[in-house]
Symmetry: C2
Subunit: 192 residues, 2 copies
DNA sequence: CAGAAAAAATAAACTAGTTTAAGAAAAACA
DNA sequence: TGTTTTTCTTAAACTAGTTTATTTTTTCTG
C-alpha cells in the first residue's frame, strides 16, 4: 500500500484542520501515486485528458517543442507544488519530463475539480498561475538574460543547483552558450 | 438612460436564451456604463479593487511599465471582449488605456463573480486567458519578431489597421524602429 | 486648410544573443 | 577505477534587435 501521508498533509494544511478517515479514503480513491524516473516523459503534446500532478518528491519540467524542433522550458515544479496543463481536457501542446526520479500524486480533471473544489478555490489556483506567467513574461521581455538569471537565483537558489545549465538557459529564453558567458562574467565579478 | 442592449445580448448569447426583465434589471444594477476618450487611463498600477470591463465599442490596451520606465503592451481588447486584471482585488501592476474613444460596461469583482457566475464558469474564463498568454509567451520567445508580426496580421488583421505601429512593436517585444525595418523589408518583398 | 503635433522611415553605430565547432570538465556507469 | 557519456566552456564569426538622431509623412486641431 502506497503512502499518501504527504498528500493528506497538503490538504490538512490548506484546510487548516485534520482530515477524517472518510476524507482520506476519498482522496486516496481519486489520486493515484506514480513514480517517474529521471528523463521519463510524464505527458506529451497531443495527449488529451491530461492529469494534474502534486509532487511529493523530485523535480520536473513542463516544456514545448516549437516548429523548428527547439525545446522551450515553460516552468519547473518540485516537491509540494502542482503541475499540469490547465487547458485539459483539450489536447495539450506541452510535454512534462522528470528531471530527477520523482514521485507524484496524480488526478484526472474530474477528480481535480471534485476534490480540490472542497478545499480551495480552483479559479484562484488558475489565477495564481496566470499571474505568475504574466510576471515571467514581462520580465523576460523587458529585462536582459543576465538580470533574469539574477532574479531566478535570488528567488530559487536551490533550483539553480539542481538543474543542468541548459535547462535554465531554455527557461530564460537564451542559448546554453550565452548563459555560460553570463556565468563566466559573473564569476569574474565575484572574485574581483 | 444608458443603453445596455449590447450587454444583454452578450448574456443572452452565452446563455442561449432570452433574459427576463428581472435579469436585465439585475445586470443593469451591477454594471456601470462608462465612456473613455482616446488616451484616457482606465486603470493604473497601484490601484486596488480594479473593475472588469466588457467593451461595447472601441479599443484599449493593457500594459505595464517596467523598472526602466519602458512600456510593454500585454494585450489589446476591442468590442465584445473582456478586459481587466484577473488578480483583483490585489493591487494591480497594470495600466489600461483607451486607444480609441470607447464605451464599456464595468463591474467590480463582487458583481463579476455574482453575475458572471450564473452564466459562465469563471475558472474557465481565467483558464482561457492563461492559455492565450502561454501561447503568446512561447511564440514570442521561440519565433523572430518578423514571424510574430506575420502571425498577428494573420490572426488579427483589423488590429494592425487600428493600432499605431509603436503599440504593435511593444506588443511584439521589439522597438518601433525595428518593426519599421521589418515592414520595409515586407513591402519590398510584396512589390517584387 | 494651415500649422502643429504625432507617427513612421531611414541611417549608422552599437550590443545582446546565436551558431557552429572543438576541447575540457564533470558525472554516470559498468 | 577507468571509460563513456553528458554537460560546460571558450572562441570566432554572425544576426537580430537597440539606440540615438534626423527627416519625412500622416494625423489632428483651430
Amino acid at each position: 500500500m502506497e503512502d499518501y501521508s504527504v498528500l493528506y498533509s497538503y490538504f490538512e494544511k490548506i484546510n487548516k484542520r485534520q482530515l477524517s478517515v472518510e476524507e482520506k479514503l476519498e482522496i486516496a480513491s481519486v489520486f493515484r501515486k506514480e513514480h517517474f524516473k529521471k528523463k521519463e516523459l510524464v505527458m506529451s503534446a497531443g495527449d488529451t485528458n491530461t492529469r494534474h500532478y502534486y509532487i511529493e518528491k523530485g523535480l520536473l519540467r513542463m516544456f514545448i517543442i516549437d516548429q523548428s524542433g527547439k525545446e522551450f522550458n515553460v516552468l519547473f515544479a518540485k516537491e509540494y507544488q502542482w503541475l499540469g496543463d490547465l487547458g485539459t481536457p483539450a489536447e495539450t501542446s506541452y510535454f512534462i519530463e522528470a528531471l530527477e526520479n520523482s514521485s507524484v500524486f496524480s488526478v484526472d480533471e474530474e477528480g481535480f475539480s471534485k476534490i480540490i473544489g472542497y478545499y480551495m478555490d480552483l479559479a484562484d489556483n488558475i489565477r495564481k498561475s496566470y499571474i505568475f506567467l504574466q510576471k515571467r513574461f514581462v520580465s523576460i521581455l523587458s529585462k536582459t538574460a543576465e538580470e533574469n538569471y539574477e532574479d531566478l537565483i535570488g528567488q530559487n537558489p536551490d533550483l539553480v543547483q539542481r538543474l543542468p545549465q541548459y535547462h535554465i538557459s531554455s527557461y530564460l529564453g537564451v542559448t546554453p552558450v550565452f548563459l555560460s558567458k553570463i556565468l563566466a562574467k559573473r564569476a569574474k565579478k565575484n572574485t574581483k
